[in-house]
Symmetry: C2
Subunit: 314 residues, 2 copies
């Protein structure tokens, strides 16, 4: 078959998403519910790969390779995942070897945020210097610096959710006090707001705030200020050119971008130094439906692709 | 003359230091007091270069090049320095062109912390992944990530001194409130301690604390906790393999390293996550007399040198 066919898979706590790329073009997507545990994760990933291939009339064995992004600690050289609590993985899982044997293709495995940062850089056409700040269950970033994925010495690069935001705040699941994650994650909004419609809490909060509900306004603004603080930690440490807001809360859309931009502008009002960094101009948002995770995972199969843009259909 | 002769110059607010390198070997050093302003800086740099050359029987024109590290905003491509307030430079100074014309050699200019990070990587033999955290008048870091200098999109990488540490703290010179720099810099110690002996305040504070003076113990521990917070900002964002403490406060010596290590250990006591990052093991100290600034500036002349170690005499 055609050279350059690759599948990327993003394994999350609730769903497994796959995208089939022909060169840099997304030509198919598939989706399954996540199944926890070693066997469940392996089966769900294999099934999404087979489904996205079958829909395009491609055999998995014809792929150049499969890239998989998973949350947790990943050894990208060995292709082993460990401590992916959301996936029910505690003992190390040799995902690359097992999936490769199952599908008969080379498999690479990476941290989900790292590969999503690669996908965002490509899909948003922002170039090679950005942080993808994922506002989801937790708060963490994937980093592409000077065109290269920054994993760090222990794979912990981008763990800004555990920088202290309120020294006298409550205890975080990590054991520290007042971590940014307690204020700037989807979980933080969920904990502070009772759903009225059954729709996602972030969308409800931002809509109620736009309607002038004072509780929602206060919650939105406090949330946005904490996200702004996380953005500043990234900019003041790495000076990334772009900070892309992603994760579940990005489903709020442009109102999220506006709120965080306003919070950054408020912080800079008294600081010529902050204004000189033009942080609001660095903000971007993962557009609804943009498969940054699966595309980034596919890109990890071949770090150097031939074109600089990927298109997709949501 | 011998190929590979280079001079590196570190321009600080109080002194100008130069080192002559033959290959990777430091074969001479010179020092002058700083003189503020365009003409003063240019003359002092040119004089230190001539002096270090003369002592070694080398003509400046025989150098492969001169590297200069300066505080402030540097355009390394144009070799222009601006906003170096400590040097009395407000309007842009075309330092590379002017000094090159004066000495008849190629000149490169870099931010002082960036080049010092390169120098620390080389002189301490730590490899290519570290932050040099300078505890001086201010608080900022130079970063070498995956073997490459990380300047960032606007040259602001490593400006962790302006991450918020105490949201309700006093106003920082940058206009924000409660910045790390207000707690974790030499200036912070100077402001909180009246010198008793005329010796540097950091040394006095740490010695008095070692002797059990309760005021000094409290000041040392508060300072060390703020430095620990800055170290954590660097590790949680970039996951650098090493964090090297430098700047004037590093003159305190191993007691500084111990205090910051203890502060990190205290923070990790309640957090298995922090313990897993083994942050105290990443700490190192610029040894007294190690010319990390001048050596790094010289290395900037030739980013790829032939050996991996530089020796020096203090």
């Amino acid at each position: 078959m055609s050279a350059g066919l690759r599948v990327g898979v993003d394994v999350g706590g609730t769903k497994v998403l796959a995208a089939l790329l022909d060169g840099s073009q997304v030509i198919g997507q598939s989706r399954r519910d996540s199944v926890p545990g070693h066997d469940g994760v392996l089966a769900a990933v294999a099934a999404t790969v087979r489904e996205v291939c079958a829909a395009a009339g491609v055999a998995p064995a014809d792929l150049e390779g499969v890239g998989v992004g998973v949350p947790g600690l990943v050894d990208p050289v060995a292709g082993v995942v460990s401590h992916a609590v959301n996936l029910g993985i505690v003992e190390p899982l040799a995902l690359a070897d097992l999936l490769g044997a199952e599908l008969g293709v080379p498999v690479v495995v990476g941290n989900d945020l790292n590969v999503a940062a690669l996908g965002a850089a490509r899909l948003l056409g922002l170039g090679g210097d950005l942080a993808l700040l994922a506002l989801g269950t937790g708060l963490a970033a994937g980093l592409v610096l000077d065109g290269r994925l920054r994993r760090g010495a222990t794979g912990a690069a981008g763990e800004v959710g555990h920088v202290t935001y309120r020294p006298d705040g409550p205890i975080c699941s990590c054991g520290q006090r007042g971590c940014l994650e307690l204020y700037a994650s989807g979980s933080a909004l969920d904990a502070a707001w009772e759903s009225r419609s059954g729709r996602p809490v972030p969308a409800e909060v931002f809509e109620a705030a736009a309607d002038g509900d004072p509780t929602a306004v206060a919650l939105r603004d406090a949330f946005a200020d904490a996200v702004a603080a996380a953005v500043l930690v990234l900019v003041l440490s790495t000076d990334v050119e772009h900070v892309v807001l992603g994760g579940g809360v990005a489903g709020v859309g442009p109102a999220l971008l506006d709120a965080v931009s306003d919070a950054l502008t408020r912080r800079a009002a008294s600081s010529a130094f902050l204004r000189s960094l033009a942080v609001p101009d660095r903000l971007a948002l993962v557009p609804g439906g943009a498969p940054v995770g699966p595309v980034g995972a596919a890109l990890a199969v071949l770090p150097r692709t031939r074109t600089t843009e990927v298109s997709w259909r949501s």
